[in-house]
Symmetry: C2
DNA sequence: ACGGCATATTGATGAATATCGATACACCTA
DNA sequence: TAGGTGTATCGATATTCATCAATATGCCGT
């Protein structure tokens, strides 16, 4: 028996991933929404706004982006569940969905168990 | 005074975002690394692997991706700080960086204060 | 040294995306 | 009703990205 056989990486039965494909797609979609600096700035600006909300006209200047672009990013954040919109007159006020970001972290911790370093302990060789 | 003046969205002094542009770029880069279903599956597969590690040959089949593509995704996850690589013979073993994912969530909670619903309380009208 | 295997890198390609200008829509005021 | 303003949508474009085939690199056993 060669030394390589001892070290071979493909001898153990493959463990099924803890993350289902569908869950992966949903999770990835939300992370993708957070994967843009301007969108993170939007969340930050909105959180820092008066009453925790802001309208589009408050957001274009600090980001140095055109109004259509800001609207586009806001829509992406809304579709991902991070923002809600409330129309008042001609203005659209955006505010954070309180549990959205926390829920994302929680799901990453508990559902997928990716944060626990259980990998080493969890699968004691049967 | 018109009703609109009361409701106008741009009358209050703009609050500076709690997130600096540089931090936003760094944060976004890490989120972007998580914004792909296959990369999330890679993290899950590696976490579920024996001793919390896995080599490339264990990962190509469950994802139905070519070996170069898997290597590419692994590199992205490494560059983002989520994975480390340990070479043993001809094989490369990847494992999770324990604090990386937790740190990302923590930074989202504390550094940017996006998770606290402080927006409403934080800026009491001066 | 040579051949074989696991992995990394390169080049190319099609798809997704960020951005803008132009335009459409909704609401308010005169 | 008409004009003005804030916002959303549409079309176009340049960039980024995911993926693959081909190739290069590095390690092992003969």
């Amino acid at each position: 028996m060669s030394a390589a056989e001892d070290l071979a990486c493909c001898t153990s039965p493959p463990q099924p991933p803890r993350l289902e494909s569908e869950s992966a797609a949903e999770l990835a979609a939300r992370f993708k929404a957070l994967g843009d600096p301007n969108r993170l700035m939007l969340l930050s600006l909105i959180a820092a706004g008066e009453n925790g909300e802001a309208c589009v006209c408050d957001l274009t200047e600090p980001l140095n982006l055109g109004q259509p672009t800001v609207s586009h990013h806001l829509k992406i954040l809304m579709d991902a569940g991070f923002l809600t919109r409330q129309r008042r007159g001609t203005w659209s006020y955006y505010s954070l969905v309180p549990a959205a970001l926390a829920g994302l972290c929680h799901q990453l911790c508990s559902d997928t168990d990716l944060l626990t370093e259980s990998g080493a302990e969890r699968t004691p060789r049967g």
